[in-house]
Symmetry: C2
Subunit: 429 residues, 2 copies
Amino acid sequence: MSTPLRIGVAGLGTIGGGTVKLLVQNADLLAARCGRPVTLAAVAEPNRNRNPGVNMDGVTWYEDAMALVDSDVDVVVELIGGSGGIALKLCQAALARGKHVVTANKALIAHHGTELARAAEGAGVVLNYEAAVGGGIPIIKALREGMVGNGFARVYGILNGTCNYILTTMRETGREFADVLREAQELGYAEADPSFDVDGVDTAHKLAILASVAFGCEVDFQAVHVEGIRQISAEDIQFADELGYRIKLLGVASRTDGGVEQRVHPCMVDKKAPIASVEGVFNAVVAEGDFVDTTMYVGRGAGERPTASAVVGDIGDIARGLRVPTFGVAAGSLARLPTRPMSEHTGAYYVRLTVVDKPGVFADIAGALRDHQVSMESVLQRGRDPGEPVSVVMTLHETVEADMTAALAKIEASPAVVEPPHMIRIEEF
Amino acid sequence: MSTPLRIGVAGLGTIGGGTVKLLVQNADLLAARCGRPVTLAAVAEPNRNRNPGVNMDGVTWYEDAMALVDSDVDVVVELIGGSGGIALKLCQAALARGKHVVTANKALIAHHGTELARAAEGAGVVLNYEAAVGGGIPIIKALREGMVGNGFARVYGILNGTCNYILTTMRETGREFADVLREAQELGYAEADPSFDVDGVDTAHKLAILASVAFGCEVDFQAVHVEGIRQISAEDIQFADELGYRIKLLGVASRTDGGVEQRVHPCMVDKKAPIASVEGVFNAVVAEGDFVDTTMYVGRGAGERPTASAVVGDIGDIARGLRVPTFGVAAGSLARLPTRPMSEHTGAYYVRLTVVDKPGVFADIAGALRDHQVSMESVLQRGRDPGEPVSVVMTLHETVEADMTAALAKIEASPAVVEPPHMIRIEEF
């Protein structure tokens, strides 16, 4: 087992740079643990100025990533990014040539995971993607191996550090979303185009992957219901606090009798729930197994070094000869499970209304709820200002989403309701 | 790969019963994930009344655990318990016969881990022990594999659910230790002889194992400094709350320039630290890697089903042909690292004194601290009662344990100090 494992890293951006650093700086440690040298043999990066700042002597530098396919590396590490394009082409070609593939690319796995898993299995090589979900947290390994004996009913988590940073900062400072987003962009915690993060798409990519591993089904990104955090106001966060909740953007995948439910949206979570204390750029994944019960995994969800840790975890498995099916079961056995539509989701709700403070308004609202069998748990009016708009906050007992939606449409149509209702789902753990 | 893996379970107590249940109830799931049947072939249990309540047709029942060594099982699962005796003899004999061994026995691994790892390596078989630390949490796998690229400076955790339950209940109810312990015994959360749990021995077993995996060193249980929670009073918990802390029994292993520090004792932890919110019977392990940064793993630390999940995780690895050195590196390469003695520990401290409320007392205390270069951060006297004993609480800035101990001895000798000082270390994360 003393043959070196030869690694080729494609893409020297943040994660690529971190991966190269780790492979060079911790080479002795890695060799001792893996029982063989793990050697950075090649990198592929068109921009020659992207030097990771470590000794690259003996490392072949290609400008074209596809050159790795024909090189003598054993493992191609795809850190280019993007849900298709060169990243997809590189992974397909590398697998076809019998090379192991490691990637941190959640968009790629969310869109092409099933197809790539089949290609890897057909070629008898490994496709690993630990860094695609939860940054440095070894959550794929925990689900696929550590909890291999468990059936999973639900897996959920805080999967996007940018959103969690924004929501945490909004709560701590009382500031509004747009203001905090701008600051996050200045600090480098959010992209210039923040849409993938704040509109929930990144979380949805990761959730679709988690669902596949937990439930043994094909990755079904299209089935994810996605909402982001742009609608969350400082007032909502304040009300949540008063009601005993924190607001978190969660991805939640549940296996129900009616099919798989995959949803990404802001959630009210009990302040005392352990996930509520996961703040700032940290991510957390909770897996509920039928034997292990509730387990939670917390760590940095992004960044050069944590993500490199996950990439090298995947490489270490290959060096040690550990092979596990991409999504936990043979690719040919991945189930096609029906999707439970969001309209059938059941849960509790928080609703914030802006209404004109006058007699009879509350009767209209209560009537709309009654007409759709939605049962109120609490109602809270902030201040009194006759004839002027005031905020009214309600929490509703567990109900079906379709009924809630219909009741809200009726409420919105009431002349005393001066803004579209703001609804946030309450998540029970 | 469709040859079944044949499992023999020794000991049908709580964990053995859960393991048998899992293997039978989730057999199809396990076979799909492992690519081969995982078959419960035999059990060994002298008490024929211990039936796990599942269909045991076709399962050979031995009364003598040693009979598994000569049977046709591929894996011997040792769930008998105890740091030596039959458990040790069984594991030694099974490894010598070329059978894989899975155990949940922390005392055994803490005392004989290095020797057993060498035996496993010599025989070319696997020794797995995920269930020995953190119950259902796959923490050994996370350290040994998921974070394989990281050097670790510190690993610590809440490793005993009984202690965490007692401390949580004391805080929630304001009751004293002895009272809550008695209730925990009635509820089955604590043993009739609670010493292993409340005196920190169980935590120390687990910590010694974690340190070995994190630092690549021989298991050194004797080097662990161990204190339990019997001295914690309701008053300490109340003061901790006022100072912004929670009291947790932690096991902390640090790799320092002066050697490895392994210590088990009650700690004051910042209420806002994620580990502070891990309550009741839950366990948590925090690993700090040089690339991944801080990661935390939370789950049930004991119980039939969570522990069975970890045992079957180990079995699943064997079924899939995954082999990792017992403590992360080849047994022959495990380092013998020097121990940093507790006297060289540096940290902040909380001290509660019972002193006679009269002029000059505080000058004596302050003088003793000054004489040993201990610097005070805050002091708090509860109430005034001239001439009578009152509680005084101090927090001390980071100092060396030997100086703190010397200062406390001098303080205790003061005639106005009517009880031995209560010292609790403050842990910084």
